[in-house]
């Protein structure tokens, strides 16, 4: 079976700390770190074009070049261009979801927001891995 991918636009240290945790949830999932918003769009477009969309996309608000919101909006635009189903998006960000963010989530559809607490990287990674486990169950209809 082909390995499935989760694109993660987060700090490299969080991605590396979350990798073994996610492998324990599902050994067939690859966490693909994308350094900034533009790289996220490159990776996403390649996967969509190959007919192998990622299971999830995790975004930070403060990604370089294209921020989290811009990335999410671009992802939806690219999905429509390829007539692909919308991929689940998780915003993992420092700020809590305000009314503007809630409006964005409603516009995007299949998108959730999780506040990243000011805690050590391994704790942030654990929180992310738990959220991914919950979302993967929903995505796979379990």
């Amino acid at each position: 079976m082909a390995r499935e991918r989760i694109l993660v636009g987060q700090d490299e240290a969080i991605v590396e700390a979350a990798r073994p945790l996610v492998a324990r949830i599902d050994a067939e999932i690859d966490l693909v770190a994308v350094g900034d918003g533009a790289r996220c769009i490159v990776a996403f477009t390649k996967l969509i074009r190959a007919g192998k969309p990622p299971l999830l996309v995790v975004l930070d608000d403060t990604l370089a070049r294209i921020d989290g919101e811009g990335c999410a909006r671009s992802i939806r635009a690219i999905e429509r261009a390829f007539e692909a189903e919308p991929v689940a998006i998780l915003f993992y960000a420092d700020e809590a979801a305000d009314e503007t963010r809630k409006g964005l989530l409603a516009t995007l559809g299949r998108a959730v927001h999780l506040q990243r607490r000011a805690e050590p990287t391994d704790q942030q990674a654990l929180r992310l891995a738990k959220a991914l486990a919950r979302l993967l169950k929903q995505v796979r209809g379990q």
């Binding site: 790289r39 996403f44 294209i66 909006r73 671009s74 690219i78």
Partner: protein
């Protein structure tokens, strides 16, 4: 003169509208936006501005076998409380006639600009989309113009075009757009090109926002990108002149 939101800078400012021959001239005192819209005839405008329609005159703009409708509000009556005489604004220059356009093309560096096939345009102001489209077609700079109302619609249209093997010759992006601004849309566009192994389409940023050092760095990073500030041009002829000049450099850079 009446006070309206300028379609270029978005500020509530006095918009001066004057009729010069067959051209309706619109100018913004804040950013200097100057546009000339060719009318079917001056008489037609007067006929349309009847007492039965005191607030709105509908002007039919006819160019190159196409009809564009532009809603133009009539100027507000002068305020009787303002006793001080106002300085009359300098009359804007008329829009270029076809003969002027040829001279303009010859005068710009790089010689005549070849006509492009398709130009993709992202501009959230419907008015400016229409004017820019009209300019590109009337000056025979493009054979086809694809309109997008914001950055998200542009990324979708551009991706669709690349997937269909129908890459535009030029992309014109407004910098300030809701949802996905011009800068982010441009980075998304470059990302899609990279993912699909395509060449970089020239980008022309067309905005009222100043091109500061940070933005110059962004242009350099994007590659094959130029910038035109709408507000530098006081009238349609100057703006058209600069667009032709910049397009010549952009298209030649490919």
């Amino acid at each position: 003169m009446d006070t309206k939101y300028c379609p270029s800078c978005g500020q509530e400012v006095p918009l001066e509208r004057t009729l010069q021959g067959n051209y309706l001239m619109i100018a913004c005192r804040n950013c200097g936006l100057g546009l000339g819209v060719k009318l079917a005839s001056a008489d037609e405008l007067r006929k349309l501005s009847t007492p039965e329609q005191p607030s709105l005159a509908r002007v039919e703009v006819v160019k190159r076998q196409r009809t564009i409708s532009a809603a133009v509000e009539k100027p507000a009556p002068p305020d009787p409380r303002s006793a001080a005489p106002r300085e009359a604004p300098p009359p804007p220059a008329p829009a270029p006639a076809p003969a002027d356009i040829e001279a303009m093309k010859r005068a710009t560096e790089g010689g005549p600009v070849r006509q492009m096939g398709q130009v993709m345009l992202a501009e959230d102001s419907q008015f400016l989309r229409q004017i820019t489209r009209d300019l590109l077609l009337s000056q025979q700079l493009a054979r086809e113009v694809v309109d997008c109302e914001d950055g998200v619609a542009f990324v979708e249209a551009y991706t669709r075009a690349l997937a269909a093997g129908d890459r535009p010759d030029l992309v014109v992006l407004d910098v300030r757009m809701p949802g996905l601004d011009g800068q982010q849309a441009a980075f998304a566009m470059r990302a899609v090109e990279t993912a699909m192994g395509q060449k970089r389409t020239p980008i022309l940023f067309f905005s009222a926002v100043l091109c500061d050092e940070k933005f110059k760095g962004i242009l350099q990073e994007l590659g094959n990108a130029r910038y035109i500030r709408k507000s530098e041009d006081g009238d349609a002829q100057q703006l058209g002149n600069r667009i032709v000049s910049v397009l010549g450099r952009l298209v030649g850079a490919r």
